[in-house]
Symmetry: C2
Subunit: 307 residues, 2 copies
């Protein structure tokens, strides 16, 4: 899957992932109203509104980008109907040829991580049958529990030729509280980064590992160091756009091959229609077109950072 990701990025010249993190408030009112008319102001109604919203955006942008990153929390908050739309969104994006990075940030002790790995990347056995319940291509994973919490994901990645992105340095303002603390003179995120590189060595694709890292766009100096520390690690870069990360700062996340990083934008794309310059040009009724234009602009914006 990591080979497919690099191929798609090269073909589309777009190291871009669109974050499908729909707050209900992002869904245009007319779409919400239609969903509530059909299902009432229920969890089913909210899920339907989000599904129609996602579908329109995916239909508008799928040919421009290699990957999407649905944030499961935005679906999980609507309970079972929300999780059904998460599953359906993953399946629909894959049908459209998109690579799906499930932003689930799971991670637990070994036997429990094995269950998450089976449910999200692999298969579960039921009697003589097996099923792939959520079937993302990649998921994000939290490293706080150490190697034995990660290993079950690696096993499934090898079997299924799928991948994970391990949180190394996150994009949020207080990420440094623990991640930046110095251990033997070097910040925790560097130690985590080194582990990620080591875990990745045993699951190599052609040029990059199945084991990637999450490094926020908001910390480019750290991105530079981590790029060097993890030469074969693909970096998923959140925090561009709405969270404050700028294209000009993103060069250090890329390798000289122009690869090695994929930049996520969520709100900046899916809620583009609510902000200028897209609001007056497209309006709420054409929110899909607004998202498409925002993707085109993002691809253009990122041209400056690639060799």
């Amino acid at each position: 899957m990591i080979n497919r990701l690099t191929e798609r990025i090269q073909k589309l010249e777009a190291p871009v992932v669109v974050g499908l993190d729909p707050m209900l408030s992002y869904v245009p009112e007319s779409l919400q109203r239609a969903a509530f008319d059909a299902y009432g102001e229920t969890l089913e109604g909210a899920a339907e509104a989000i599904w129609q919203f996602n579908k329109t955006i995916v239909d508008a942008v799928y040919d421009l980008i290699p990957a999407v990153k649905p944030q499961v929390a935005m679906y999980e908050q609507f309970g079972l109907p929300g999780m059904e739309v998460y599953r359906r969104t993953v399946a629909y994006c894959k049908e459209k040829g998109l690579i799906v990075i499930g932003d689930v940030k799971r991670g637990d002790i070994g036997s429990t991580s094995a269950a998450y790995a089976a449910g999200h990347l692999g298969k579960v056995c039921v009697g003589s049958k097996s099923y792939a319940p959520f079937d993302e291509d990649f998921i994000t994973v939290n490293p706080y529990l150490g190697s034995d919490g990660i290993r079950p994901f690696l096993e499934v990645c090898k079997e299924e030729k799928k991948g994970i992105f391990v949180l190394v340095k996150t994009s949020n303002p207080s990420s440094g509280e623990f991640q930046d603390r110095l251990i033997d003179g070097r910040p925790l995120y560097e130690w985590v980064g080194e582990k990620v590189a080591a875990w990745g060595e045993e699951c190599m694709g052609d040029s990059y590992s199945y084991v990637g890292a999450v490094v926020g766009a908001t910390y480019p100096e750290m991105g530079k160091i981590l790029r060097r520390l993890m030469p074969h690690t693909f970096i998923l870069v959140p925090g561009y756009g709405a969270q404050g990360g700028k294209a000009a700062d993103l060069a250090p996340y890329f390798n000289e091959d122009g690869l090695g990083a994929i930049v996520n934008s969520s709100r900046g794309i899916i809620a583009a229609y609510r902000k200028e310059p897209y609001a007056s040009r497209f309006g709420a009724e054409n929110f899909g077109d607004a998202s498409r234009q925002a993707v085109l602009d993002m691809i253009e914006d990122l041209k400056c950072v690639r060799p």
Copy 2:
């Protein structure tokens, strides 16, 4: 909810939580067969088997214990039908008067943690209505992202009078890989523990905070230090029993009031019927009775550690 937890522990003299972490292989064959006869060897069939298994165990032990801790991964791995049984298990346990600790280990940047907090502990708004999709009493939370990833949980805890248990020192063998690394001469878990105590100060119940900590039974020396460092923090102690933690080692996790800790056992209780001395006494057909006896034995075993 933390006040209710301490009251129930005192009343039952049982600082015990039963981990409802059902592997499908724990479910006796006759129960699996009945579920597969009704639903086929499908995700629905697996979920039904787990539901019947859970229900029997909860019916057998609910009067002995204050709380249960369903591990969501064991449900999530069976997709939507699994998540429905997770939700149903939470609701059923609450009906039975049990306090429910959802072992979900979620945690993300602020806006995303807010969605998890709403979905698991609080309410989500849909138009003019609001819903509590999963509605656990407590959930476990991962601290790697720092304060702004935790704060949305605190806000919901205050509103709903619910609680969280933050991972501090986990019970697994490689937990030390990052958690034990020294920062200014003290291990990371102590720094996390201090933060947990600080977060907890703003959400105090009568004697203990709504913000608890997870500290594994497998590291009693560290438990001792963390107990002192977080005097008003309730400690959820996994790792007793199957993972190797012994009752005699657990005294340091408790305060002088005999409170301050609650010890989890999962496999040791729910799969008791598969091991001696319960296997020959109860057998698979009476697995609920075996679980009840295992709970009684655990309560007895823990008597030695309380003042």
